[in-house]
Subunit: 117 residues, 2 copies
Amino acid sequence: MLVDLELAPKHKRAAGERCCEPVAYPDVERADASRMADVAKALGDPIRLQLVDVLRKNAGKVCVCELVPLFDVSQPTLSHHLKKLRDAGIVDCERRGLWAYYYVIPGALTELSAWLE
Amino acid sequence: MLVDLELAPKHKRAAGERCCEPVAYPDVERADASRMADVAKALGDPIRLQLVDVLRKNAGKVCVCELVPLFDVSQPTLSHHLKKLRDAGIVDCERRGLWAYYYVIPGALTELSAWLE
DNA sequence: CATATCCATTGACAGATGTCTTTTCAATCG
DNA sequence: CGATTGAAAAGACATCTGTCAATGGATATG
C-alpha cells in the first residue's frame, strides 16, 4: 500500500505568500497529545514495554520478586521502571505483607491504542 | 472493569525458595519489545505525536513549511523532531524542488497498535 | 552569477533518563 | 526485641533529549 502523494509541482512563492494550503489543526488535540505522549513515553523503553506485556498476560498475579529475575537489571532499577509506569498511570500495585503485586490499570492504554488504530 | 487479582496470602519463604510461581517468558518478545519501544519512544513527545497525527490526516500532502507554524518551536527544532520520526521508521519524506513532503510510512505503527490492543 | 528560500545540520546547553550502589522502610519470623 | 526479607528511595554519574541560534546546502528566480 502506497501513500497517495499529492505533490503539486510548486514554484517559488512571492515573499510572504503561503507555499502550501493551511492544514486544519484542531486545538483540542493538544491536551490529548500530551496525555498520549506521556503513555507512549513510558512505553518507550524495552524493559517497561515487556513489564507491561508480562503484567497484562498475568493480571494482578505478578509480584516484584518474580519480575526481577526476568530482566538483566538490578532490583532498584526495575523498581525505578515500575515507578515510571505508575507515574504514567499505566500500572498500579497492591501490597500484601512483604510482597507487592503489580497490575495494568484497566483502560490505561485505550486512548493511545484507539489513536494508533 | 476490575483486574482479577489473585492475591494468595503468602508467608515468608525459606531462604532460596521462590516466593512466586515462575512466569513463562517468551524469549521472542525481546526483539519485538525493542522495536515497539523505539516506535513508542518516538511517539513519546507531544509535538511528534501531533506531527504524526497531522501527517496521517493529510497523507503525503504536507510540506515542512506548513508544519512549522503549527507548533511553537523553531524550524530547526521541528526538523529535529522529524528526523527522530524518520529514524524510528515512522515517517519519510519526498523532496520536490525546495519543498519536502512528509508522510507516515504505511504499516509503521501496526505492530505497536496490535500489541496495545 | 547573485540572491532568496526551504530545510537540514552543527554546536551549545540545561534538564531528563537509565543504571548502579547504598540506604531506608515496613513487615515477618524466631 | 533483634534479625531478615521484599521493595522503594536516595545519591551519583554518564548518556540522551529538547531547544535555540547560527550555519550550510540545494534549488529556484532574476
